[in-house]
Point group: C2
């Protein structure tokens, strides 16, 4: 008998339980999806958007629901869980609102970015883009309304989020979305098509375009709790590293993955003569750079004053950002 | 001698000093212009927009500076002065930020509204529209960044505005700008071109499109002080009446004024077969309706618990809205 199943009888070294990111993320994504479904609707009397025209809300829902990796909401919730010592309902309510608010900003930016006067893209998350489905004017207005809705989400009037937290979250989100954040990065991106950028200019562009909102997601999540200054600084550094890594990997995937895997048109950057990390550094150096940024993100967490357990979701998300296939 | 200058010797009845709206507004507009000039720039180190690309900020400044009636900022400041008992620097700082924030939202809505996929207008405030001057993509991004900047203005990190006031102002502005406010009204407007609307549908459209932000201007100004509930309700009613009156008069001017006086293309609504109060009610009935709304606005102020002196700027602004020539 023992010869037949030798391993069962011999004690083996048991590795520490590996954090189950899929399980963790699955639960939180379900929460986020339910919240977005409830908050981006005109069907709830006295609710958000109540009194809004049905066609506009339909375009907003189309832009937001059933799609995307939801990386930003997951970062908000992971940072909140890292900082918040207790399972406090008030903090969680704020964090869920913050998670949805950053996703609304991200979704609106994609709607506007896909429009004919910008990237003129027809495919997004495997579906026709909003302007293809609803027309350009509706896409423009749906994007505008989604941005406003993000700030509405952060300012509930039911006492569920402390005014100081509301004010902090609105300020962080506004700065990350605006001219010195996401919108500014898109403007640089637009101006850079066909023109040579240095690596530092490319990094600056991405720090604004993608990095600002990813970093804000981490910081907003932390602000839903009561972070120590050192912890906040470490989380900002973590956010900066993965914000940049996200874009480097995006550029890598644009040349290594196909459209079906990506859910959007692959190879588009090269076709548009857009500067990318790959076009600037080459594929191999870009891959090495992404790994280096992952190390930076981990080191930031090591110095955050938070435990391995507290930061496990943030660590796993950093891995996912760098090692994802789409 | 006395026969030569008789009036000097005879005492005459002196009428109560008439409120000098032009003088009052002139001072406040100068403040608003200076504030917008300072806040919509990338030139101030550590300031708003610092690090933003120059071209984007140029488009934002073009959209906002040197133009417009600035009705919304004046409403904010008039409501603030009506409510705030003392000449308190903190309140005034909040009110000036709120005044500029509503103007940024208004300015962004015009930029997007003028774009080819919406009204396709080439003239605004007597100048080429933003997309004509800077291109469509820049106009889109400048509008997006102006909306974010509005919320950034409302959330200063220097302690000059109390967190509760910041949260209130952000919430009011977000609701007024979003799907159940301005953006929603624009969506209804868009869908209504060439289709017959009833008077109540037309009113609903305008309540969202123009009314929500005008009303929010009044309420935000009041919230910078500490309004009594009854006063707040009265100011909301005042805001609703002049919000509607503003649009009725706009429709009247579209058929009675010329493009030079308006600073934009006159007769455009009729050309586009857009439903207007004039097309629905006729010119004379529209003019009577505007006067009726002015009376409603005055009655609301009479019942506000505020004195004639406290509400003099709000009264004069209501007169101006209804009796303006452009």
């Amino acid at each position: 008998m023992s010869g037949m199943v030798p391993n069962m009888a011999i004690p083996v070294h048991v590795a520490p339980a590996v954090f189950d990111l899929d399980g963790w993320a699955g639960e939180r994504l379900a929460q986020v999806e339910r919240a977005l479904d409830r908050w981006v609707t005109a069907d709830v009397p006295q609710g958000l958007n109540h009194g809004a025209p049905a066609e506009l809300v339909a375009a907003m829902r189309y832009a937001v629901l059933d799609g995307g990796k939801r990386l930003r909401p997951l970062l908000v919730l992971a940072a909140h869980e890292a900082v918040c010592e207790e399972d406090c309902d008030t903090c969680l309510s704020a964090a869920l609102r913050a998670a949805c608010a950053v996703e609304l900003i991200h979704a609106y930016s994609l709607v506007h970015d896909d429009m004919p006067c910008m990237d003129n893209d027809v495919l997004r998350r495997g579906k026709p883009t909003v302007h293809v489905q609803f027309g350009e004017a509706s896409a423009l207005l749906a994007g505008d309304a989604l941005q406003a809705l993000a700030f509405e989400l952060l300012t509930p009037q039911d006492g569920s989020v402390a005014p100081t937290v509301q004010a902090n979250l609105c300020g962080l989100l506004a700065r990350a979305a605006g001219s010195a954040g996401m919108a500014g990065g898109q403007a640089i991106d637009l101006a850079s098509v066909g023109s040579p950028l240095t690596e530092s200019q490319l990094r600056e562009m991405h720090e604004l375009k993608t990095g600002a909102l990813l970093q804000a997601s981490v910081v907003m999540g932390a602000y839903c709790g009561a972070p120590e200054p050192d912890t906040l600084q470490a989380l900002q550094a973590y956010g900066a590293a993965i914000g940049l890594a996200f874009q480097v990997v995006d550029d890598i995937l644009d040349v290594t993955a196909d459209s079906t895997t990506l859910g959007k048109t692959a190879g588009k950057d090269a076709d548009n003569h857009k500067p990318t990390y790959v076009s600037l550094m080459g594929l191999q150096a870009s891959q090495a750079y992404a790994q280096q940024l992952l190390t930076q993100a981990r080191l930031a967490l090591d110095g955050s004053g938070l435990s391995q357990t507290q930061t496990r979701a943030l660590r796993a998300l950093a891995d996912m950002v760098v090692n994802r296939a789409h």
